[in-house]
Amino acid sequence: MVPYIELRNINKRFSDVNANDHVDLSVNMGEIHALLGENGAGKSTLMNILYGLDYKDEGEIFVQGQFSDIRTPSDAIALGIGMIHQDFMLIPPFTVTENVVVGLDEEGSSPLLDLDKAARSIKALSEQHGLDVDPHARVEHLSVGEEQRVEILKLLFRNAKLLILDEPTAVLTPQEAEGLFEVLRSLADNDHTIIFITHKLHEVMNISDRVTVMRDGKAIDTLKTESTNPRELAMKMVGREVVFHIDKNLRKSGECVLQIENLHVDDDTGYHKVQGVSLDVHSGEILGLAGVDGNGQSELAQALMNLRPIKEGNIIVNDVDVTNISSSLHRSAGMAYVPADRRKVGSVSELSVALNTILGNINHYTTAGNLIIQDLQVREHAEELVERFDVRPRNLTLDAGKLSGGNLQKVVLGREIMHEPSLLIVEQPSRGLDVGATEYVRRQLLTERDRGTAIFLISAELEEILALSDRIAIIYEGEIMGVINSDEAVVEAIGLMMGGTRLEDLPGYR
């Protein structure tokens, strides 16, 4: 049988990174094929090539045995390929129908819009596949799960036969994810082919027929799901036996550094995102905040740094109330922050590496009443940072934006650490980093902890939380479900709490 999609020898380089290193992949019609790998393994790049968002340097694509040169998304759509991206690509002010219809291929179809007719077929289509969506609703009023169903409808409406889903469950609750899986199974039964990008082993075991594991841009192996197990997959994914606890020294935690009392914060649209969070972080410990992305973590971090108005509650650092102090005073209060978006928030891409190492502390390197930057001092400081944190290349005048993700993160993290803060707030420290950089960043965090810094770690990667934290707090819809010691942590229990069960309601809770 000819595979539905066959990628042969795909190669793609981005500046110094070989994102796809001669990858082969073949997917059969009607199967759910999982593409498993860590962040940065090259899964998304491979699928972007198949969808025409990136163009391959080398290699060939065959769709149903036909050689296909896919250069733009339009080409892919014409071949029946559809992709749902990690961040949804809907237009909020449009209705569901308008979102589904826009971008439909014009050829053959009338240039005039018939939205009523389209709405009727969307309704029929959504009932046929068990996707419960009102065609007349405005997308801005929908929940995340509903938005995803609109994305699926959009593809089905265009007769997509191959659906690519990039980490579709990252923004879903466990229940919504189960609902999605049912839809996908029913689609596969109706001759649709599905490629499912994920780094979660249990999803692979739950939903896929076959799985291809990627690591460092290479396709390592393709296996039948029924004849493998999570342990084998994890080993192939990471390249070695996975140890969930990296060696870490015994905790020597001391006095309370950060105290959050009954914090309430809204997001930009006025939605009540953080609802009465109280937490404390002690010196020499890492407190991990676990939770599905979008449950108030970002708003909490931003509120801590006074980047978002606080409606109620207090933040106390080293016995000083910092709830509403200007962010220029955070450093002197002993606070440091590594934001989730290192490119747009944590650094200034157009400035040199050297200047990025003094951001937030520029006055320390100026003279003549803060008018003139002292280049020599800046260079000394930058050289020290680049050396100590092994930033590559060792080029201080390079635009920071040209650094790879891992090296940029070293600059951002190094800048914060070199200030010797007593409190370090870190958001998604290894998101998008390769294995080496991830491990490096994590070790640095542990070193800081051993030095006595209080670290508040916010991460959507449960594995990261488990590997680093001394205590783990679980957040769900802006409320803390419970705080547990990591040596007593059970993944299943954390999973339940991430889905909204409180610690005291857990089965078997003492």
């Binding site: 968002l53 733009t72 998304p73 339009s74 892919a76 759509i77 992709m83 991206h85 690509m89 809907l90 237009i91 909020p92 002010p93 449009f94 308008e98 219809v101 826009v102 971008g103 439909l104 291929d105 014009e106 179809s109 009338s110 240039p111 005039l112 819009l113 959009k154 809204d266 649209t269 006025g270 939605y271 009540h272």
Partner: protein, 348 residues
């Protein structure tokens, strides 16, 4: 990028606020306030002739604003409309000067030429953006200057009046090239019809066609539009060409219905004034008509200020500017209040 979307009363409130502000200014110079406003009304609507003049001025403004709606909805800050109006006027003038034809043929030919001339100028902006990566703001502004230079060159150079090298304009066109007017008025029903047709076309395109929906989607989110498979570059180019073509029609009405010849200031500043109209209309094409009409009332009525009160005519511009600022102010206040109400709701 969003225009001001507010209910009608917020516009009325803005008119009141700007009237109060302008009154303060008038009081400062001891100018009779009531008389000033009465003159504005009587000067623009007081007789059929004056109403006709006001309508006449509103025609190119409505057309220029309709052109801007097309590009603004596609997310393009098109400030090249001035140049496109000029290009349309130059093209129509060329036909009017070169073709000796009966008026039934000449006028459609001028309209067609103006359409193409504006489209060409819009195409240049689009190509600069898509092929050269030049932002439409800079491309459009640059081409505005080029167009102005071109028209001055034509007026004092190849198309100058015999024996006179003057910037006051070319020889008037033959009457066959004039839009027909109603007896006793300067207003041409043809020009009014063109402006209304253009607005209806824009409404139709954005509400009822695939093309319009795609343009709106590109305007709201170009990135995801590309991922839907919409060839965004081609659509942006089409929007700029179509916007230019429509702006060219404004140029045609300027030469064929108002000046009857080519003058250096042929664009009348409508390309810029239109930006204010479109922002006030919140990109809603049907609102363009009353807002443009109101702006024309100020433009025509303020002529009387100069004649009767000895005020400088630029006071009309001050009033228009104050009006825009008042709308901005009131819409900002409304948004703030909404946000506060939302907060109260979530707390309940």
């Amino acid at each position: 990028m969003k225009g001001f979307t507010g209910p009608i009363y917020s516009y009325l409130a803005a008119v009141l606020v700007s009237m109060v502000l302008v009154s303060l200014l008038l009081a400062l110079f001891r100018i009779p306030i009531f008389e000033t406003y009465t003159l504005l009304i009587t000067g623009s609507l007081g007789s059929m002739t004056k109403l006709g003049d006001t309508l006449m001025v509103s025609v190119p403004l409505i057309i220029a604003s309709a052109s801007l709606v097309i590009t603004f909805k596609a997310g393009l800050w098109n400030i090249g409309v001035e140049g496109q109006i000029i290009a349309g006027a130059v093209a129509a003038s060329f036909i009017a000067r070169e073709l000796q034809m009966p008026t039934q043929i000449l006028l459609p030919a001028m309209i067609g030429a103006g359409f193409l001339g504006g489209a060409f100028w819009g195409l240049l902006v689009g190509l600069l953006k898509i092929r050269g990566g030049v932002n439409e703001i800079f491309g459009g502004l640059g081409l505005d200057f080029v167009a102005t230079g071109l028209v001055v060159y034509l007026v004092i150079g190849p198309w100058s009046r015999k024996g006179i090298a003057s910037t006051s304009g070319t020889e008037p066109f033959h009457e066959n090239a004039w839009f027909p007017t109603v007896e006793g008025f300067r207003l041409s029903p043809l020009a009014v019809s063109v402006s209304l047709l253009v607005v209806l076309m824009v409404i139709f395109v954005f509400n009822r066609t695939q093309f319009g929906l795609k343009l709106r989607s590109i305007g709201l989110n170009p990135n995801s539009s590309y991922r839907f498979g919409i060839p965004t570059s081609r659509y942006i180019l089409t929007a700029l060409v179509l916007g230019g073509a429509v702006a060219g029609l404004a140029g045609v009405t300027q030469v064929a219905s108002i000046h009857h010849r080519l003058v250096p200031s042929i664009s009348g500043g409508y390309g810029f004034l239109g930006i204010l109209v479109v922002l006030l209309a919140g990109y809603r094409p049907f609102l363009v008509i009353p807002i443009a009409f109101f702006f024309s009332m100020i433009a025509i009525g303020s002529i009387q200020w100069q004649l009767r009160l000895g005020l400088h005519s630029s006071l009309g511009g001050v009033f228009q500017g104050t009006l825009v600022l008042s709308v901005v102010l009131i819409s900002a206040m409304r948004l703030l209040r909404q946000r506060r109400e939302k907060h109260v709701k979530t707390e309940e």
